[in-house]
Amino acid sequence: MAVSILIVDDAIFMRKMIADILRKEGYEICGEAENGIEAIKKYKELHPNLVTMDIIMPDMSGIDAVQEIVDYDTEAKILMVSAMGQQSLVVEAIQKGAKDYVIKPFQPSRVLEAVERVLKTK
């Protein structure tokens, strides 16, 4: 069964870009969400193998969403998607249970490296 991934980002453009990179490698995009609240709802509904999570989003930030998702499923595998200059936010997300991060603008190889590594974690 293909690995299922939920993409969370408020920009359609970014969601499409991540989806393209991942689909090319055979991952299944099982859903998309455009803010933290939606992300939590979709996570509970779809139980994806992995979530890519933007940090700055309207309504609920990626960090708060990480907290809630990890509270719900301690084994959730979340990959943060960050812009440069958000170090402290990324560190906070990691401390709350996110597994790794990638930096915008993307280098596909970096995204795939991180996705594979996060999927391997127990």
Binding site: S82, M84, Q86, Q87, S88, V90, V91, I94, Q95, K99, D100, Y101, I103, S109, R110, E113, R117, T121, K122
Partner: protein, 614 residues
């Protein structure tokens, strides 16, 4: 003297014990996660010890006995005679629960407590027997893990934290260098160093670390093989204090106790004059105690400097350079924690001088210099502070190159270049992440990290200045206060708030007539003895109400790294010694403040971080 009535202290005792207990449960839980963290073990020990002392004084015998047996258990852990297991953790937690119960109920007979104490001593006894059986049991092997990141790693602090949490799955990390907080802020140069107790093979750990493409190299080795490495130069350790210093302190404290008792008497009889005199006397004794404690904290700087020559030698060798390293002023004394915190920045400057300053023997020869570069580290006492100089006779800094790089990095746009002074240009080296391309070629992409040096000095209440001359060399001057804990400051009021300005930054205080303040390009300034001084109004910086409608403004002229600013306040208050407390975490990102202090009336006053305000 009257017998002391302890019952008056019962409430304080209870509330304080509760505080210690709540810290303890957190510490004990941490212990389970990282059983060999020495600091943590020590903290638990201290807490039980304090509870024991208080309980003894208050006559809580059972609490005293129970804490005592827990202390014993902790000593065994500390000496690695026993290893933390879930049984020990459970027992300790049961111990804290019991102490809480005993303190709340005030029971002095309890079978439960006795069996708990027996339990604890059994654990200890088991360890002693075990120890007899295998005397030669080898201590746990610790491994030093040095990770170097690629120069352009994005958010390297976050990368390091991801790596660390990854490593924690296969090893226990017992030490971080720099500290975990600095690591997560990305405040390190090219790499970090961890001390681990591995749970899996070193090969596996290494492989998983190298799985990150941001990692350039990883180096794992046994801790024992660590000979004079340049990381962690100073171990935070106990300090030795001469007995005569302790005796002096003891005498002062006795005087203080006597004075306190007299004062009590005078208060009872409401003898005003004698109360005033005695209070003065106590003030005098307290200053002497303060002086003595500061003296005890002082250590000669050779204790750090003596480790440098080896590092210099290794670095020079690695880069194929010849360096004659000289140290002057070894016997000058500095506050211990100041010294510990100075080691890294100093080392950084010294290595920078070898990397970027001193040329290779060939090019030195071509320029008619001696093949051997001269690197000097010099300390010198100056009023209430210490000056430390790092100088080399290398090639100096290349302004053009720095400017080019600054433009590339987008730090300055084309049309502003003309307005930049030499100092403005050179100051780009303090911008985070700044490196010149030359640097990259020459030393395999190591970042200069001058911003880190400057920030750490600022955190010590110090400053960093430098002078550089092409082909002659570079001189760095560090100015640090003698101690971090107590500084001299000038208190000013602005609106309703009081601010403390460290005296080291103050040039003079004057009253500026409000007519003499001119506005040019929407910036305020005034002329003082032919010098143009920018004006900043404290109440505007902090967005508070201004309580000043007079014709003359009390102003403090501050100077930081040759930049002068007149700070306009509402009122001058006084000169005083202040005790520096660090700001709570939530406030540390307010860059205008260096810390906070408590005033005589118990109200807090913020300490201005002058370099960040000017």
């Amino acid at each position: 003297m009257d017998k002391i009535d302890f019952s008056r202290y019962a409430d304080i005792f209870k509330s304080e014990t509760r505080e210690y207990l709540s810290q303890l449960s957190q510490l004990i839980v941490n212990l389970e996660k990282s059983p060999r963290n020495r600091e943590n073990i020590d903290a638990i020990f201290r807490n039980f010890h304090t509870i024991k002392g208080m309980a003894g004084t208050m006559g809580y015998r059972l609490v005293e006995m129970l804490s005592h047996s827990l202390e014993d258990l902790l000593s065994l852990l500390r000496d690695e005679k026993i290893i933390v297991d879930s049984n020990i953790i459970d027992t300790m937690l049961a111990g804290t629960d019991k102490i809480e119960e005993l303190v709340e109920t005030g029971k002095d007979q309890d079978e439960d407590t006795k069996s708990l104490i027996t339990n604890i001593s059994n654990i200890g006894q088991g360890a002693v027997d075990e120890g007899k059986k295998q005397v030669t049991k080898s201590p746990v092997k610790k491994v030093v893990c040095e990770i170097v990141f690629n120069e352009n790693t994005p958010l390297k602090g976050a990368r390091a934290i991801v790596l660390i949490s990854d490593i924690e799955k296969s090893a226990e990390i017992v030490d971080f260098s720099p500290s975990k907080d600095l690591i997560s802020n990305g405040e390190f140069d090219e790499g970090i160093s961890l001390k681990l107790i591995p749970k899996v093979s070193l090969e596996r750990i290494k492989k998983s670390i190298l799985g990150y493409s941001d990692v350039r190299s990883v180096y794992l080795r046994d801790e024992e093989s660590e000979v004079h490495r340049d990381k962690g130069l100073i171990r935070k350790s106990d300090i030795r204090v001469g007995i005569e210093k302790l005796n002096k302190l003891q005498n002062l404290l006795s005087e203080l106790v006597i004075s306190k008792e007299s004062l009590k008497g005078f208060v009872k009889t409401e003898d005003r004059q004698r109360i005033v005199n005695e209070t003065d006397r106590i003030g005098g004794i307290v200053s002497s105690v303060q002086d003595e404690v500061v003296k005890i904290r002082m250590v000669p700087i050779w204790q750090v400097f003596e480790r440098f020559p080896r590092v210099i030698r290794d670095t020079a060798k690695e880069l194929g350079k010849k360096v004659n390293f000289e140290i002057k002023g070894k016997d000058i004394e500095l506050d211990r924690s100041m010294l510990e915190n100075l080691a890294e920045p100093l080392l950084h400057l010294l290595r920078n001088s070898i990397y970027h300053g001193i040329e290779t023997p060939e090019s030195r020869r071509k320029m008619g210099k001696r093949e051997e570069g001269h690197l000097i580290l010099e300390a010198e006492r100056q009023r209430g502070r210490v000056l430390i100089k790092v100088s080399d006779d290398g090639k100096g800094m290349d302004e053009d190159k720095i400017l080019r790089r600054a433009v590339e990095m987008g730090l300055v746009n084309g049309d502003k270049i003309a307005g930049l002074s030499e100092k403005d240009i050179l100051d780009f080296i303090f911008v985070s992440g700044f490196t010149t391309s030359e640097v990259v070629d020459e030393v395999s992409g190591r970042g200069v990290g001058m911003d880190v040096v400057k920030t750490s000095l600022r955190m010590l209440g110090g400053t960093l200045e430098f002078k550089t001359v092409r082909n002659k060399g570079t001189l760095f001057i560090l100015k640090v206060p003698l101690t971090m804990a107590i500084i001299k400051a000038f208190l000013v009021r602005t609106g309703k708030e009081t601010f403390a300005i460290p005296l080291t930054f103050i040039e003079e205080t004057i009253e500026v007539g409000h007519n003499s303040i001119k506005t040019i390009h929407s910036k305020e300034l005034f002329i003082l003895r032919d010098e143009v001084i920018p004006v900043k109004r404290l109440h505007r910086i902090f967005g508070i109400e201004n309580g000043n409608n007079k014709d003359f403004y009390p102003s403090v002229i501050v100077n930081s790294e040759s930049r002068k600013v007149a700070l306009i306040t509402s009122e001058f208050l006084e000169h005083t010694d202040i005790v520096v407390k660090t700001l709570p975490r939530t406030l540390t990102n307010i860059k205008e403040f260096a810390g906070v202090t408590l005033l005589r009336d118990g109200k807090p006053a913020l300490i201005l971080d002058v370099p960040n305000v000017v």
